[in-house]
């Protein structure tokens, strides 16, 4: 629909030798972590469970108070400011959305604007706008309660609520952990579409490396005690794992990496004939024969594909109706080729229909395109000079990104020496 400007609305985040030491524990949960998160990018925290990635995330909005170090957002030190005020400026999404079951969808989304004292009609307009953004029809979903929504829809509302007051930063704690794989793929695609519109700074915790590769501009791989093992682009983490730990964590066969790295919008899509409900099937068939394509795609009013028709199906039809084919293989242009291939295999089809922002039809993709893309794209790993800074002070310097260490003037500090205000 609307192509909004590509201006970055996100803020940069800097964790400056941040430490979390729980009383009574010898090893800090997070020890002297320095991490730069560039404005407008998606940074994925991955690592085994209990490695401190969630603790690190929650220290950014100070749900967990750091015991040492500074957190700087957009140049402003937020370590000492009022925690509630800070959190109202940072979106927060958890698994299954964390919606309040006793409030309607609209009331859930309106919470932060209400706390910030927005006017009623401004809030109502914002709620509808956000529901549109997360692909839920406001007229249908506004007054529903969370229990009347599916898991995926609840998650969408959770994202809408986090975006309500237009915060520059969005923190997501394993947001897609509780939904089935197909819904997860959709939600991931949608998040990327939303991000291409809003350009926030997103920090997401996940334990799924494929998710990290798919969504992340940068991936931070953590080991126990929030030791930052590698902080780099997905391509380079895959191509040059920093050590055996990262290698093991990446897991799957190297040959199929390209499938996860390349997105549908990076390959050539095929055009095809489109039709609207109400057209004569014979007209569409003659256009299709003139074009040489094998499918015609039927679109709804908002140019979203609802079904596709073969020549044979067309020749049997009189008039094109608005039946929705739920089983049509559908991928977003933000999907990885891995997702696209998966979708095709599941529906036993050689082609899949591709949609862009807000589910608008983009074209078709087929198996040959994917195979060509794999064979073409081989040397994709560029040099690492633009990676943001990330290191643990005084901790295994050999594992940090080398040039990042060089760019960081800070001398190594002992994380255990960090003062403990509590």
């Amino acid at each position: 629909m609307s192509e909004s400007s590509d201006a970055i609305t996100g803020a940069s985040i800097l964790l400056d030798v941040v430490t979390k030491q729980y009383p009574g524990q010898i090893k800090p949960a997070v020890g002297g972590l320095t991490l730069e998160i560039p404005a407008g990018s998606i940074v994925m925290f991955v690592g085994p469970s209990g490695c401190g990635k969630t603790t690190t995330l929650k220290m950014i909005n100070r749900l967990i108070e750091p015991t040492g170090g500074k957190i700087v957002i957009n140049g402003e030190d937020v370590t000492k400011m009022d925690g509630d005020t800070l959190r109202r400026r940072i979106g927060y999404v958890i698994q299954a959305g964390g919606l309040f079951p006793h409030m309607t969808v609209a009331a859930n989304i309106a919470i932060v604007p209400k706390m910030l004292g927005w006017k009623k009609d401004k809030i109502a307009a914002r709620v509808d706008e956000l529901l549109e953004l997360v692909s839920l029809d406001p007229a249908i979903y506004r007054d529903r309660y969370p229990k009347e929504l599916s898991g995926g829809q609840q998650q969408r509302v959770g994202v809408a609520r986090a975006l309500a007051a237009d915060p520059p930063v969005l923190l997501m704690d394993e947001p897609f952990g509780a939904v089935d794989p197909i819904t997860r793929q959709r939600l991931q695609d949608e998040l990327l579409n939303i991000q291409s519109e809003v350009q926030k700074t997103i920090v997401m915790v996940t334990h799924d490396f494929d998710e990290a590769v798919k969504l992340g501009d940068w991936i931070a791989v953590f080991d126990e005690g929030a030791q930052l093992v590698q902080y780099d682009s997905p391509e380079r983490v895959l191509a040059n794992p920093a050590n055996e730990f990262v290698e093991n964590f990446i897991g799957s066969g190297a040959g199929l990496k390209q499938l996860t790295l390349t997105r549908v919008n990076e390959v050539d899509l095929m055009d095809t004939i489109t039709a609207l409900p109400g057209e004569l099937a014979s007209d569409v068939l003659s256009r299709l024969q003139g074009d040489g394509s094998s499918y015609a795609v039927v679109l709804d009013k908002r140019r979203r594909p609802i079904r596709r028709l073969t020549r044979r199906q067309l020749s049997r039809l009189q008039l094109i109706d608005d039946t929705v084919d739920e089983s049509m293989p559908l991928v977003s242009d933000q999907s990885t080729l891995n997702d696209a291939l998966d979708t095709m295999l599941v529906s036993s089809s050689e082609t899949a229909v591709v949609t862009g922002r807000r589910d608008v039809f983009r074209g078709l993709i087929n198996v040959q395109t994917i195979m060509e893309a794999i064979s073409q794209a081989n040397a994709a790993s560029a040099d690492g000079s633009d990676a943001p800074v990330g290191l643990n002070s005084g901790a295994i310097p050999a594992l940090s990104v080398e040039d990042a260490v060089a760019a960081e003037p800070r001398s190594a500090e002992d994380p255990h020496s960090a003062e403990e205000p509590r």
Partner: protein, 213 residues
């Protein structure tokens, strides 16, 4: 019986109203006290079990003894009645309020805090509304129980239908003594029924559709 009622209808209605009013006001007071106590202890496991223990032991105290003991410091009349009725009313509500508040999924509370709600706001707008159905069922249990307790308050010359019961019992065998007791007892049962209906209605009106079962 009917003759007895006919002769004293104004007196009976007045006593019934007094009884009902005593119970209703004490219930409100008890709910406030119980919710405050529950809100203070529910985050802490040992404090919660302490509160639950006190509530369990409190319920075993015979109400008749409790009111008798309170006559000494507070004298006769309304004061000991209010104290005893509120005390007994608060006990089941405390238990339910703790259960209700502690039963809220931590992820809901975390997301409330995560989007910038203060502790107080989280409690007032998220936790209490979500625990409300459980708290209200505690209030209903309380209401039934203290209807009877309030009758005993008449021993300390408190207001209500208990007066008919005690005066009847004290001259049992005498003229219309049995009628007097019966009027008191039936009156209490009817009032309890009415109050329960009212609480049921309040529950319907105050429970959001999203958490209705």
């Amino acid at each position: 019986m009917f003759e007895f009622i006919g002769e004293r209808i104004r007196q009976i209605l007045f006593a019934s109203w007094q009884h009902f009013s005593l119970v209703a006001q004490c219930l409100i007071l008890a709910t406030v006290i119980a919710v405050v106590i529950a809100a203070l202890v529910y985050r802490n496991k040992s404090l919660s079990s302490l509160a639950n223990g006190v509530s369990a032991i409190g319920l075993t105290i015979p109400s008749f003894a409790a009111i008798g003991l309170l006559i000494a410091p507070f004298g006769f009349g309304v004061t000991p009645a209010v104290i005893v009725v509120s005390f007994f009313a608060a006990l089941p509500i405390i238990r339910n309020a703790i259960v209700g508040l502690a039963g809220i999924s931590p992820s809901v509370v975390e997301s409330a805090r995560g989007i910038g709600m203060s502790r107080m706001r989280t409690l007032a707008t998220v936790e209490l509304p979500m625990a409300w159905p459980v708290i209200l069922s505690g209030i209903r249990v309380s209401a039934q129980m203290v209807m009877g307790v309030a009758a005993i308050a008449a021993y300390a010359l408190g207001p209500g239908l208990g007066g008919f019961i005690f005066s009847g019992l004290s001259r049992l065998g005498g003229a219309k003594a049995f009628d007097s007791v019966l009027v008191g007892v039936i009156g209490v049962v009817i009032l309890a029924f009415i109050l329960d209906l009212i609480l049921l209605g309040i529950g319907r009106l105050t429970t959001p559709r999203g958490i209705r079962v």
